[in-house]
């Protein structure tokens, strides 16, 4: 490979930093979404996916498109929040919730659960199923929020490809499900429609963790595989907001490989068991 080839085949990284800054500035000022505290390597990868799909020769070409076309911004939001999720993802975590957390929830007259960054809702229905089997669903209100309205619409409909049900069913059993997973949906052509009994007490709402305030008094908050997209500053901000949204001794459930050890609020929580990724809010130590 000649030296000239090398120059043309790799992007000018310094220029790209400037281009991404321009793009994020355009998005923030036009649409009010602040992506400046997003993990840069993930952001860049996703912006490049859009660049490639849209056949653009540079990232900055995306700026006028996003400024003038709200649909292009929606396209950006979808790309930023596309994620791998499934029902009972990491079934061991759901099993732990079922065995250790749900028995404690029986003592509360009402239960509030928040799925922050619920994406297409698979885990919201997973949790609703566990609550139903523990006879807790009736007194529970579930808030399922995301900043991506397209994902939220899928979550609210509760319709998933039928072909995924085998995998979901396997996870359901691994999570300690007591019935048959097929009891919770009905098949319609190529789709599985989740039972309406599960969604009766779920509120689906638009919420942007990068900007919006807390919901109060939650027993459990799920925030799974969301913090990995944030830099340290935004992680601390969001975790503080979550802590303040939990009741005394409420629980925070993180992703399978997420930890609060390196964050500013690690002292406010205790992990219920090492590597469980389930954190219990500790009483505040008041000074004199």
């Amino acid at each position: 490979m000649s030296a000239q080839d090398k120059v043309t085949s790799v992007p000018d990284l310094d220029l790209e930093v400037l281009e991404i800054h321009l793009l994020l500035t355009a998005i923030e000022q036009r649409y009010g979404y602040d992506f400046f505290n997003y993990a840069m390597s993930s952001l860049k990868r996703r912006v490049r996916n859009i660049q490639c799909d849209e056949n653009l020769s540079s990232i900055s070409e995306l700026v006028p498109k996003i400024l003038h076309d709200p649909q292009m911004f929606d396209r950006f939001l979808v790309e930023m929040s596309v994620t791998v999720t499934r029902m009972f993802r990491n079934p061991q975590i759901f099993k732990r919730i079922k065995e250790s957390l749900l028995p404690k929830l029986h003592t509360y007259p009402r239960i509030k659960i928040w799925h922050a960054g619920c994406a297409t809702g698979e885990e919201v229905y997973s949790m609703a199923i566990l609550l139903a089997e523990a006879d807790l669903l009736k007194k529970t209100h579930i808030y399922a929020t995301d900043y991506n309205n397209q994902s939220l619409a899928i979550a609210e409909k509760g319709i998933y490809p039928l072909e995924k049900m085998q995998d979901f069913s396997k996870n359901y059993l691994a999570a300690g499900g007591q019935c048959s997973f097929a009891d919770y949906y009905h098949a319609k052509y190529e789709h599985a429609v989740m039972a309406s009994i599960l969604s009766k007490n779920i509120t689906f709402a638009h919420h942007n963790l990068m900007r919006d305030q807390s919901f109060g008094e939650m027993n459990i908050i799920f925030c799974r595989n969301v913090l990995i997209y944030f830099d340290q500053i935004l992680q601390d901000k969001v975790l503080t907001m979550m802590r303040d949204s939990l009741i005394h001794r409420g629980y925070l459930v993180l992703g399978d490989r997420e930890t609060i050890s390196f964050t500013g609020i690690s002292e406010s929580f205790t992990e219920i068991e090492p590597r469980s990724r389930i954190y219990q809010k500790q009483p505040e130590i008041s000074g004199f």
Binding site: V10, V82, T83, I228, D256
Partner: protein, 198 residues
Amino acid sequence: MYAAQNSYSAIAIGVSAGGFEALAQLLPAFPKDFDLPIFITQHQLMDADRNGFIAKYYSQRCNLPVHEAYHGTQIKAGHIYHSVSGYHLQIESNGSLTLSVAPPLNHAIPSIDILFESAVEYYQSGLVGVVLTGQNTDGAVGISTIKAYGGLTIVQDPDGAEARSMPDAAIAATQIDAILPLDEIGPFLAKLSNRESP
């Protein structure tokens, strides 16, 4: 030998089928005072190794500490970071590790291409990319990118590999600097030494 003329900033290794044994043979070759960070993306099944056995296993057999890659970890020279099941491993622009649950690439999460492409943006020509045994083509695009940035590219000789399609794909993708049998890769890498990170 390339190693005699240059110095490098980091090593990124991609491995799939047959990887556990290959790494168990390769990693002990690094001496205690080895001064580059080493990143490994190894294909794993979903929910595999939740107790962190792999990192402990390698740690006991290596002169260097081996860690599971956690989000936000600051990269240290002479440490080995191993990918975890269900997450892509990326190198962040501030010299830390980032995880992602973006869709699989080449049917793989973690994907070797994603590690290589993020690492080379940070280390540029200082990156050494290594593709080992595997039944896939993951890593081929990434190792071409490492080559394009002027980094050093090494591939396990497909003839001796447990699964040859990943080394074959890497060799077909770009002009590889060194194609070596597994038992020579460790000693080769162990001779590389540090230069300033960008």
